[in-house]
Amino acid sequence: MIKARKIDVSFLNKESDFPMKPSGYMCVNSERKVWLIIRKRKRESKKNFWVVETCVLCTSVDQPCELFFNHEQVRTMSRVKRRTTHPPYWHVLKNNQRQDEKISSDNLRFVREVIQDKYKNKSPIKGSDLDIEKKEWDPKTKRSGVIARNIGVQHMWEKDGKKVVCTVLHVLDNHVIRYVPPEEYAKSIIGAKVFRNRKPLGCLVVGAEAANPDRFTRQYCSLFNEVGLLPKKRLARFIVTPNAVLPPCTPLTAGHFVVGQAVDVYGKTIDYGFQGVVKRWGFKGGPASHGATKFHRRGGTIGTGRDKARVWPGQKMPGHMGSERRFCRGLKIVRINMKYNVIYVKGTVPGPTNSIVQIFDTLLPRRKFTEAPPHPTYFPPEDGTLPQEDIWDSNMHVFGSPSISV
């Protein structure tokens, strides 16, 4: 996939013989060469999807470009690897191979005591403890996200009686592990890719679901040594602006979000395994009867004989379906239960029940915050007053309230 940007083409020499007027779009391909698109056409089935027919290689935008006519059709359905089942090579080995240790119960008890001593309960960080100066919120701030588990789907009703399917997300015991400042993050491999042409932002590493350190390797547990927390089963990175930084060991709860706001939920879709072409791509298959011989759920033709004389890359065929990273954008929060740390979100979320998802403030421009949210995160009031347990959106019918009469 190539991203294209509109530029001012007046620098081009008017006497030069172009086959036609340049379209005014510039694109950068994977070899970091700049191409000026002269001719393009839209592909029928996709919206922002061009097949570039003619483009010109430029050395830079400001100088007059070297004309190099390339008439190759670029097909954007490239053979990108859609999923990996192994973690990236820079991840430390996480899970311990269970050795069949014959350990006596006394020694086991001792080991447990050592673990308890090492990870003694740390008192949660309060709002007043924040070392960093509290910076003001502005519309361009990016706050941290939260790791949650999708625990199921519940039906709720709006005040006019309309039924709404809501996903229940249980915010696990999130703690901030580490903050990587923008300059440092931009030098890392992922950071360099993310911020290639942009101003770099910081990265907050958040962990969820504390577990027994026995099941993890020493290298993995060392990631949490600085903070002094029990090692977490899940880690996630959230891109934050420097004014939304949180110190390590800060807990993140459901109160981080506001009822009525829009969130984006990232998760891995349901794994369907190896699926045929009808389920995977929505092909129609063949007739069920009328003499069809062994052609009920097959794909049919996979190419013409004449043009190119081969199967094009990206041809839809059976294969592994699901288990892909997807975002569900702009889901509205209709209810927050502060006691159980549970968020009810209108709509459905990628992934099966009991899978882990990440929740962030939405990036959809029309649904972003207009007023300041709990920034940088929510801290319970220090005078000991408990927050309201169950917060509902104004549009929703609360279950304990009288029946709706239209």
Binding site: I151, Q154, T353, N354, H397, F399, G400, S403, I404, S405
Partner: protein, 346 residues
């Protein structure tokens, strides 16, 4: 955990106690499978189980075993992939909250019920429908039931979601059971079996402790039918009088081994231990709500005797406008055939 003997005896206990239902609350009942369990403990792993009521000091509230039939929607969907204890707990809290506002009485398929729903298109903003419950299902807040009636020679079925806030009132006019769990065959039966007067009064029963089983055998209309009733082992239907080839085919297609398949049963049901926990939790709340309702009823009865209430809180129960009780969108041009319209969802 599959404790076969326990499950069996639990089920036996349920079957027995269902016919002898105690209306009084049971706060320290020992569940019927207690004495048999002690002999089986030696066979099982050394799992220490606290017996309710036996320990000195703490008494545990145990719901009567009939709750499994009276309130089946409190049990979650048994599919293990989609189960989560926290979510079920939160859903139960919401269900009980809703029940504190609207009384959702005990009913079974075969009971005749009247439901009043808020409807913007009705003349007095409420629509009341009377019908026999032919099917019920769903778990949690998605629980639903279908009421069927024949209005102006037109068969009408309406699916109601039990916890929908548009529902103002659910009354059970006749509480009884039939020989089958699902009465979908009434669609192919003669219309008189599905006809109930729309202004039916609630029937009072002399013997409150037993839910009667109506042994009625329904006559079906001649074929064609909507389903192959001969393949479904229906008890509440008269002899179908079909040619022998139908019964032969039914035998070929039948799965007689399923009644011996314990794992199938296990996967379809929630384990007995969990059911006890769930209903113990629910039982105390429902008791409190019932108590409050009784007080409210007594209070209002006293008030009514003192002063006359005219036109206040127009009781939807009393509005009986012939013909327009059923939402007008449901009635189509009537013919002699009674056929099921698309079930109308509230």
């Amino acid at each position: 955990m599959l404790r076969r003997a326990v499950l069996q005896t639990f089920r036996q206990g349920l079957a027995q106690s269902f016919f002898k239902r105690n209306a009084v609350s049971l706060s320290e009942t020992t569940v019927t499978h207690q004495p048999i369990e002690t002999s089986n403990e030696a066979d099982e792993k050394s799992v220490s189980k606290q017996k309710p009521g036996d320990e000195s000091g703490n008494t545990v509230v145990v719901a009567p075993p009939e709750f499994r039939f009276m309130y089946p929607e409190f049990l979650p969907d048994p599919a293990m992939e989609r189960r989560n204890r926290l979510k079920e707990k939160l859903e139960r809290i919401d269900m009980l909250q809703r029940r504190s506002v609207v009384e959702i009485p005990e009913f079974y398929t075969g009971s005749v019920m009247a439901v009043t729903v808020a409807d913007a298109n009705s003349p007095n903003k409420f629509a009341r429908f009377v019908g026999i419950c032919i099917q019920r299902g769903g778990s949690g807040l998605r629980a639903w039931f279908i009421l069927r009636n024949v209005v102006d020679k037109q068969g009408v079925e309406i699916l109601y979601e039990m916890y929908c806030p548009l529902i103002q009132k659910i009354e059970v006019l006749r509480l009884e059971r039939r020989l089958d769990e699902s009465l979908l065959y009434l669609r192919d039966a003669l219309p008189e079996y599905s006809t109930f007067p729309l202004d039916m009064e609630p029937e009072r029963r002399l013997n409150n402790s037993v839910v009667p089983i109506n042994p009625l055998k329904v006559k079906l209309r001649p074929r064609p039918w909507l389903e192959r009733w001969e393949r479904q082992n229906l008890q509440g239907v008269e002899d179908l009088n079909l040619p022998q080839r139908f019964y032969d085919k039914a035998e070929k297609v039948a799965k007689p081994w399923e009644k011996y398949d314990l794992m199938l049963q296990y996967r379809k049901t929630i384990p007995a231990e969990e059911q006890e926990k769930i209903f113990a939790d629910v039982h105390s709340q429902l008791q409190q709500q019932e108590f409050k309702r009784k007080i409210r009823r007594q209070h209002s009865a006293l008030n009514d005797s003192h002063m006359v209430r005219v036109g206040r809180d127009a009781n939807p129960n009393q509005t009986r406008i012939s013909g327009s009780i059923v939402p007008s969108c449901m009635l189509s041009s009537a013919g002699d055939m009674t056929f099921r319209l698309e079930t109308y969802h509230y």
